[in-house]
Symmetry: C2
Subunit: 228 residues, 2 copies
Amino acid sequence: MAAKPRSASKRSQRTKLPPMQEASSEPPLSRERIVAIAVELLDAQGIDGLTMRRLADRLGSGVMSLYWHVDNKEDVFDLALDSVLEYRASPETGESPDWRGDVVHMLENWRARMLRHPWSASLLPRRALGPNILSRLEMLSKTLSRAGVADADLNAAIWSLWNYVMGATLTRASFDLSEEDRAAAQQRLTRLSEHYPTIERSRLLLDNDWDGTFRKGLDFLLDGLSPR
Amino acid sequence: MAAKPRSASKRSQRTKLPPMQEASSEPPLSRERIVAIAVELLDAQGIDGLTMRRLADRLGSGVMSLYWHVDNKEDVFDLALDSVLEYRASPETGESPDWRGDVVHMLENWRARMLRHPWSASLLPRRALGPNILSRLEMLSKTLSRAGVADADLNAAIWSLWNYVMGATLTRASFDLSEEDRAAAQQRLTRLSEHYPTIERSRLLLDNDWDGTFRKGLDFLLDGLSPR
DNA sequence: CATCGTATGGTACGTCGTACTAGTCAAGCG
DNA sequence: CGCTTGACTAGTACGACGTACCATACGATG
């Protein structure tokens, strides 16, 4: 019951940072450096590869020093995730007549960023919405509204697109494992082909054209969304 | 590089089970009992609430006894997940003229089942496809094909629906947290309303009609998918 | 009786997140 | 100058985890 304080960690506000820099040794710890290395670790070793000890090692610091800058490990995950989802909309996005192109561009960028850091896909659903995610939703909302989607349909439209991108990215990130896994999957499927004749025939699980499939499905959805 | 054997665990094939039952004490361990209790634990305590020690406690057994029936903890997750996604298609599903109704029914059942066990949503993307998932995909495939979706579009159509359901369920499962979280989110959003005017205005994050939104988005998608 | 496959569980190891505590160092102040 | 204070670093230690290894028990079979 007790409300978690979700404390904003007690690190300094960095009001002034004196120009003193130690020449060759490690730079001082900072939230930014911690997050950057955390992302590196996650990219290289996956979600279980990130441990506070390893993180400290890479940073050349003691483990407990991290906790000055960061509340706990969950905090590291949150920060790493949001840092990966940055989005700078091109300035003319607000005005372009090609709303559909704008939407597709943003969503494909979103997907691409997450796939570049596959751990982010499986992390996102468990985390709060960071500022970068919110600003993407804001952009979606504005664009769709401008395109003429009825107010009553707007939220459903946004969520549909969000859901689609989430699902597609998650699926892609988890399917695209190793060669051995892929081989094992194929073998298992053909062994079971009697039970699943239709998906076996259409080679559903072996289709490698992820990008094309993503785009095609997105077009289906946008077709359905377009104001008539 | 070494291929994980993914060993089919060494538990007995249960060719004969002798009728000897110990009257009042614990029934013997079995894969089924382990999975059932694991699901109970996951439902009650969430994903981190499942530990091998707790599982053994609830089963009245020693921790290491579990490992006779189960390869490791990952195996428990896989089994628990698949056990939750069972689907018995009604027999007439293959023939009904209302293909759209059939699809909606199956997908809503899928979503409902996952929401009844919210951990399953965040687990699924990281796991292999169990038989119950495959049979749902098979049903989808057959129905869409019968409905006239072109072969070239079939896989994209299936994945679109899959992606949509995955995304929607994951989002719903992770958003629907506690009261305090909901309150905190609302507060945070209004504080930031200057940055996100559109989604603030449409109350995107406060909309509670999950079921309706799901259905509406699904209709959008099916509109786009329907053969013209 | 001896042997063997099935099944159980105790002990112990290495790893994890992090609470607690003590330390260093620079800036500010008398 | 010495003293205090606050920002920051880090060692030690604790409890919990997954599970390898090993010893055991029991019914069936020889």
